[in-house]
């Protein structure tokens, strides 16, 4: 094991796959000498050259569409979309093409594409560079969606994403890029659709992912000081979703709080909530299902307002207290 950053874990996953598989290459804006807006591709252009670490025009439809075409022709492109907000510019390529081509063509084509992008707020980047848009992506059959919360998960999930024959939307958390964690030196991959119980507990289930995982763990620590044991489930992939682990936990704890950074209204928490309510876990609930997410507002620039928009450790703590 070695301690590396989340950004390095992403870099290592791609670099290791590129060394093994010639068809893997990366393309995106300023990923060469600049190393990408978040420094993820540091050292990669030196190792792999311009043909495999391709700087693109600022033309998201162009290079994301080209990545879809390259995947159709048997390559394994890894696209870096600088900010997840920019997916709105190339939604057609992702949603109308990548997600649907295989189905529309009767299964005769594969789209082994990874769209990596920096997602989330907390950097003072305001309304167009801070969104968490994963619920939109999860809505489209044909796409897979992963949101890693630790360096270990980032590396293991990204390896699976690159090896997958389907388009995978990989939402990296920009405030986590500099966080560190233990990552094995040997090759490993984390399968999609397997939630990770980051903390066990018998009193309340917190279902979460991405940046909110660490905050939920901190809230759980505070709750433990008061004798409340929260179980923190990191779903890791929204599509496919490991609903069984969630249902099993809810049946045990009889209480559930769903936490995500994305806007609560119409957010992925609603889907999780619905699936719990649709399942036998419903009969085990001792309290209504609680959801925490961002307020229904574009993300403000002012730091006080920005912080107010999202769930915090305090809000998660209070929400769980309120359930019990």
């Amino acid at each position: 094991m070695s301690e590396i950053t989340y950004a390095q874990a992403v870099n290592d996953a791609i670099s290791e796959e590129m060394r093994k598989d010639e068809t893997v290459f990366m393309l995106g804006e300023d990923i060469g000498l600049y190393c990408g807006a978040f420094g993820v591709s540091k050292g990669m252009i030196q190792e792999f050259g311009e043909e495999r670490i391709m700087d693109t025009p600022i033309a998201e439809q162009g290079y994301v569409g080209a990545a879809v075409g390259a995947a159709m022709a048997g390559l394994r492109p890894v696209v870096e979309l600088m900010f997840s907000d920019f997916m709105c510019v190339c939604f057609d390529e992702l949603v109308n093409e990548a997600a649907k081509l295989r189905f529309m063509f009767g299964g005769k084509v594969k789209i082994p594409l990874v769209m990596r992008t920096a997602s989330g707020a907390g950097t003072g980047a305001a309304a167009q560079h801070s969104q968490s848009l994963e619920a939109c992506l999860a809505h489209f059959p044909g796409l897979k969606v992963a949101v890693p919360s630790t360096p270990y998960d980032a590396k293991g999930l990204l390896k699976t994403a690159i090896r997958d024959d389907n388009p995978v939307m990989f939402l990296e958390q920009k405030t986590l890029y500099r966080t560190k964690g233990q990552v094995p030196e040997e090759d490993y991959a984390i399968p999609f659709g397997v939630a990770d119980v980051k903390r066990e507990g018998g009193d309340c289930t917190i279902v979460t992912y991405g940046r909110m995982v660490q905050m939920s763990l901190e809230a759980a620590k505070r709750l433990a000081q008061e004798g409340i044991q929260a179980e923190v489930i990191d779903i890791r992939t929204l599509v496919p979703l490991d609903i069984d682990t969630i249902i099993g936990s809810v049946k045990k704890t009889k209480h559930v709080c769903i936490v995500h950074e994305a806007v609560c209204f119409g957010g992925f928490g609603g889907e999780i909530c619905g699936q719990i309510a649709d399942s036998e876990a419903f009969y085990y609930l001792d309290a209504p299902i609680r959801r925490l997410g961002a307020k229904s507002t574009p993300i403000p620039f002012n730091p006080k307002l920005e912080a107010e928009t999202f769930p915090t450790v305090e809000k998660i703590y209070q929400a769980v207290r309120g359930l019990l």
Binding site: Q61, A66, G69, M72, A73, G74, L75, F105, K144
Partner: protein, 321 residues
């Protein structure tokens, strides 16, 4: 001296143009009988663009079609029975009945299909061209057909830029059929000479008579050589859609006189006159080949009609690999 063509090539052109025309006629007829679910976009009058272009390509060249792409699929060599079965939404359809007219494709013959959202095929075509280069494949190019309407899509401009800055083996073929749905090009373009749009991207652009199958063939043959040696190029093939845009078209935006004038310039009529005046084929030989095309379509319609519907239990199949 006038250029000589191999008789076999001319025969194939005649056969495929007539197959394409007959295919559209049958789809129109099936529609009127209420047998076609959904919609379809017919390209009667545009046969020379698809047939002349695609016969000038190599079989392994990638081709992306338009949403009016039946003739492109036929020129590329798709199986007519299975294509008609797709129109009738049958399990034996080229897309197992899951795509329909707007998504007819066959990756096995490197035909990446019709697309329902305009413009994106052009950027995807840059992607397959990038794959050709990365795999160091010789004598292979990537071709995208798009309409005059699509030529105003941002994605097409992004594709022009990507193909030229990366010097990709892409051939852009703009089928200018004069109208984007009901809108004449002069209403949506300051300068209707679409070939000029290649200039700022450092590509050659050529504008030709898209109803002259031999002119199309010659141009694309040379263009292919250029693309292989030098990089991307744009060819605009000027033609006219005699059929309506789709089943909902009441032809309120054009006159009967205009349509009739273009019927006179019908590419099949013109080619017949070339073939007979040059004594390559006699009228009877040509008629016999038209009859064969009709027979092929008789068989295709019968095959499609008697094919089973997809099994509802397979609905999730092919959502994911």
């Amino acid at each position: 001296m006038e250029k000589q063509y191999k008789k076999e090539l001319l025969k194939e052109m005649w056969q495929k143009m007539n197959l394409a025309r007959e295919f559209e006629n049958r789809v129109q007829w099936l529609f009127s009988m209420g047998l076609v679910h959904g919609t379809t976009h017919l390209g009667v009058g545009e046969e020379a663009t698809a047939v002349g272009s695609i016969l000038a390509l190599k079989a392994r060249d990638y081709v992306f079609g338009t949403h009016r792409g039946h003739s492109q699929a036929i020129a590329k060599g798709i199986d007519i029975d299975h294509m008609m079965a797709e129109i009738l939404a049958k399990a034996t359809g080229v897309c197992k009945g899951k795509g329909g007219s707007m998504h007819i494709a066959d990756p096995d013959i490197h035909y990446f299909g019709a697309d329902g959202v305009l413009g994106t095929s052009a950027v995807m075509c840059c992607g397959t061209a990038l794959a050709i280069r990365k795999k160091k494949e010789e004598d292979r190019i990537s071709v995208v057909f798009f309409g005059d309407g699509s030529s105003n899509e941002g994605a097409v401009f992004e594709a022009f830029n990507l193909a030229s800055v990366w010097n990709l083996p892409v051939l852009f073929v703009c089928v200018n059929n004069t109208y984007g749905m009901s809108t004449p090009i002069a209403k949506v373009m300051k300068d209707t000479d679409i070939a000029k749009r290649a200039i700022p991207f450092g590509m050659p652009g050529e504008s030709i008579d898209g109803n002259d199958v031999l002119a199309v063939y010659d141009t694309i043959q040379k263009a292919r050589e250029y693309v292989l040696k030098e990089g991307p190029m744009l060819v605009v093939e000027n033609t006219y859609r005699i059929s309506g845009h789709s089943k909902s078209d009441g032809n309120l935006y054009r006159t009967k006189e205009e349509i009739n004038a273009w019927k006179e310039k019908c590419p099949i009529k013109q080619f017949r006159s070339y073939l007979t005046s040059h004594e390559i084929f006699g009228e009877e030989e040509l008629d016999e080949m038209v009859r064969q095309a009709k027979e092929t379509l008789d068989h295709a319609v019968e095959f499609a009609k008697s094919s089973p519907e997809p099994d509802v239990n397979d609905i999730y199949e092919d959502v994911y690999a």
